[in-house]
């Protein structure tokens, strides 16, 4: 049986075209316990006849440093093969990203355009948020079409990594480009953004190439077809006494229903479940999507939501999402809101800034403790329990907030973990401000996230 000797393997690889070359490479591909570094060194030394086949086998073993060495080697070849970077650059690595960024620093001064066209998609593949603007500059620059399309492909393969507002702006500009294939691709990418429908509608008055306009309409039509793409939503909310749903939640549901063109139901924990309108079954072949709009992993999330899901499953398939407070995007929004509050609460230079507070309904148990610790780490705020029934009582909260008397330090920035108006936000309105859904950041986020659901 043929034995694989790891040390001198690169030197023994048969030349391109030799009948034993592919079987040998296949054997290597299936063998564990070897590193790519030896092969990379042999390639750099010119000891291996390089072709797509050997790079394909190596690609599965490359780490960041090895991939970077190979790309540097490729960059310096007298006639570099344009197929190779895609094979060797599929490793996400900060140093590799930095090298690509350096090579592509300026569309005007980056050497041969065909070389840049090979590297632009790789920079997108690295998905470093700061590179979105660079890729957009290349896509919008007066460069050969192939280079601009390569830059747009870089934006495509990193789509969710770029700042979304800026990305939408770049894509809208590209959608009007005289290069119709570039413009068409931009429209297709706009159709993948969370607020796709709004983005495509916004292009309605803009003069587009005829084929691009047709494409826009096809994308829009697909987004507007509830039968194909939009499931019915069931928003489970806490609600107020007697099953009353606060107006901001009613408005949210109505707006979502308008945007998704699919039924959006509201169920308050304090009330009876709504009936299943015939439209839920008729409008969508997809399962009902249950969205628990709860902010904390309390008893409602652990016990009530599974029971509600079980109830609805009796009537048809249900897809259950995690509770809202666990969504990474929601936690990022909390952190951003808190940072903005802290910035506004400027303190005299001599005084240490007070720690911001997140007021929440009291929770018990290890899961709750872990979640609150995670929230504190995400937001930099301290989580403080405040009972809805006695929010201004004599508990921990009152000890953390100075009495409103002359000369006393300003209260720390506060944010109530309440999605919609409740007794906490009613009774401490002047201290904690409006509930989260009455704030633009959270309302927009929730609309965008829920609109984007299938």
């Amino acid at each position: 049986m043929h034995r694989l000797n790891h040390a001198d393997a690169p030197l023994r690889l048969p030349p391109c075209g030799h009948p034993d070359r592919l079987p040998e490479l296949q054997r290597w591909r299936r063998t564990s316990g070897w590193q790519a570094a030896g092969w990379v060194a042999a390639i750099e030394a010119g000891s291996v006849a390089v072709d797509v086949d050997v790079l394909t086998v190596l690609a599965e073993r490359l780490d960041g440093p090895s991939a970077l060495r190979l790309l540097r080697w490729w960059w310096q070849l007298p006639s570099p093969d344009p197929r190779w970077p895609a094979l060797i650059g599929g490793v996400r690595d900060p140093l590799l990203a930095a090298w690509l960024r350096d090579r592509l620093a300026s569309p005007d001064q980056s050497g041969a355009p065909e070389m840049s066209a090979c590297l632009l998609p790789l920079l997108g593949f690295q998905r470093q948020p700061q590179d979105g603007a660079l890729l957009a500059r290349w896509a919008l620059a007066p460069q050969p079409g192939a280079v601009r399309r390569a830059a747009l492909e870089g934006l495509a393969v990193g789509l969710s990594a770029w700042p979304q507002a800026a990305l939408a702006n770049w894509l809208r500009r590209l959608a009007t480009d005289h290069d119709s294939s570039l413009a068409a691709a931009a429209v297709d990418l706009l159709a993948r953004l969370p607020a796709a429908r709004a983005q495509l509608v916004a292009l309605a008055g803009v003069p587009l190439d005829a084929a691009v306009e047709q494409r826009r309409q096809r994308r829009l039509a697909a987004l507007s077809l509830p039968q194909a793409l939009a499931s019915s939503l069931l928003l489970v909310v806490h609600g107020r006494a007697g099953g009353v749903v606060p107006p901001e939640l009613l408005e949210l549901a109505a707006e979502l229903e308008r945007r998704r063109r699919a039924p959006v139901l509201l169920q308050a924990l304090t009330g009876e479940p709504p009936g299943r309108p015939a439209a839920v079954g008729e409008a969508s072949a997809l399962p009902l999507t249950l969205v628990p709009l709860m902010l904390l992993p309390g008893g409602h999330v652990r016990h009530d939501i599974p029971a509600i899901a079980a109830h609805w499953r009796l009537q048809g398939p249900v897809r259950r999402l995690p509770f809202l407070g666990a969504w990474p995007a929601w936690q990022r929004a909390l952190a951003a809101e808190m940072a903005e509050l802290c910035e506004r609460a400027a303190q005299p230079p001599a005084q240490p800034p007070p720690q911001p507070l997140l007021l929440h309904h009291p929770l018990e148990g290890p899961l709750a403790r872990r979640f609150l610790a995670h929230l504190e780490a995400c937001t930099g705020a301290r989580c403080v329990p405040a009972s809805y029934s006695d929010p201004s009582g004599e508990g921990l909260l009152s000890s953390l907030i100075p009495a409103p008397i002359a000369g006393a330090p300003a209260p720390p920035p506060l944010l109530p973990l309440a999605l919609a108006a409740n007794r906490l936000t009613d009774s401490l309105a002047s201290l904690v401000g409006p509930p989260l859904l009455q704030r633009a950041r959270f309302r927009q986020l929730l609309l965008a996230e829920l609109e984007a659901l299938p």
């Binding site: 079987p23 094979l87 650059g89 096809r218």
Partner: protein, 515 residues
Amino acid sequence: MTSVSVSSPPVLSKVEQAKADLCGLELAPRLEELGRQGWEALDEATLTIRLKWLGIFFRPVTPGRFMVRLRLPNGVISAEQLAVLADVIDRCGEHGSADLTTRQNIQLRGLLLEDMAPLMAALEGVGLTSRQSGHDNPRNVTGNPLAGIDPEEIVDTRPLVDAIQAALLGPAGPRNLPRKFNVAVGGAPDSFLLHNDLAFLPAHHNGALGFTVMVGGFFSAQRNELAIPLGLWLPAEQLPGFTLAVLRHYERSGNRQQRNKSRLMYLIDQLGVESYRQAVLSTWAELGGDPATAAAHDGSHLVTRAPRDGLGVQSQKQQGLHWAGLHVPMGRLDAEGMVELARLARIYGSGELRLTEAQNALIVNVPAERLEALLAEPLLQRFRPDPSPLQAEAVSCTGNAYCSFALIPTKGAAQAVLEELEQRVELPHAVRMHWTGCPNACGQPYMGQIGLMGAKARKDGEMVEAAKIFLGGSMDAEPKLAELHDKGVPLSDLPDVLEQLLVERFGARRRPMPA
């Protein structure tokens, strides 16, 4: 003190470890989140191995652009489903395309990770799935592409294929096979299926129509085998349960130490056919099956000839109805072509299409009075019902545009060579040519009357793209694998060499040279 020797469990390979750590099906609820988070959330094993349990393939040649392989049992697809798939690849612009595969299936190319959650929902919405269509899973179950409409039909394979898929994807189905596994059901005299790990061929036993069981067929870079008789006959209703038993036994007993020796035939070699049969029957009994319904059988069957191409307008067994078999060059579709195919199926037929293993598409249930209008549709200039005898049954793997193992651009090279040959020769009958880019043999070169495999060869002192030539593959009553004829003809010389072969061996006549 007594020392106890404990044998340590074998070290798992990278692939086996990845499968043992997490089943790819567990990723389904996370697809939307993964789309938002992108690569950051994916380790290498998830990206390159586990996602294939959902039918999602990371493609090293197009990093960031994924492929999705569906499951289309028996190659049946509706116009509505095809239109949804067309929209999916239309969104991918110049990166989007679809391939008809040699398993009567469709692969979508050029998708972003962000597309996956909405795609899976859209697939589910129209009754499609891509579940377990890649890697170590039971692949798309094939059947007679003319099932239910075939005047020569022995048995309608559609309900059997559907039931087998339901059994394999159901709660008792396998989730961690040692390797991929192909299953097929024959229903006509031309149902050649011996390239499958498990094939059911129609056969009689004591006057009853059922199926004889064939096992172990596969092609690979190392070994090529046609399936052999297991020595069992089964009534149709037992096929799903028996298939599940075969797969569960393979899951438990297949070779997980050497991936290049893990296909079913190696297990049969190891156990011997008799012992293997007994082991499968025992597993079937354990799963609640009834081995008493199986009978010993000599493996004779009712498949007697090579597959028909199914092209052109042909009469169905239903009075007054026809199917129109359209040749899709190299099985490659774009969004526009798919939209049009769907439209034609809806307007002229019953809204149903069939896909063949020769990578072609059939529009079915077309009434006689609509045929003329159908044949006048512009799409039929592109997807012809009457392609040349060389084009009709040409099969190709994807080639180096999407696969880094392919040594040549298979589809493009094949199309160019075939068009050149059409200019040069006339053929009295179709010649089945199978093109594949590398020894992994995805284009099944050993099944072609002429098989071509990507290679490199030296020409004028330089290494150039080339093809090995195989000859003599037969799928008729005496099946035979093609054998190596030439180990490397440069692509530029291929038209000359193939022209000579067609004249000498396949009755081709040279066309007069233009003056």
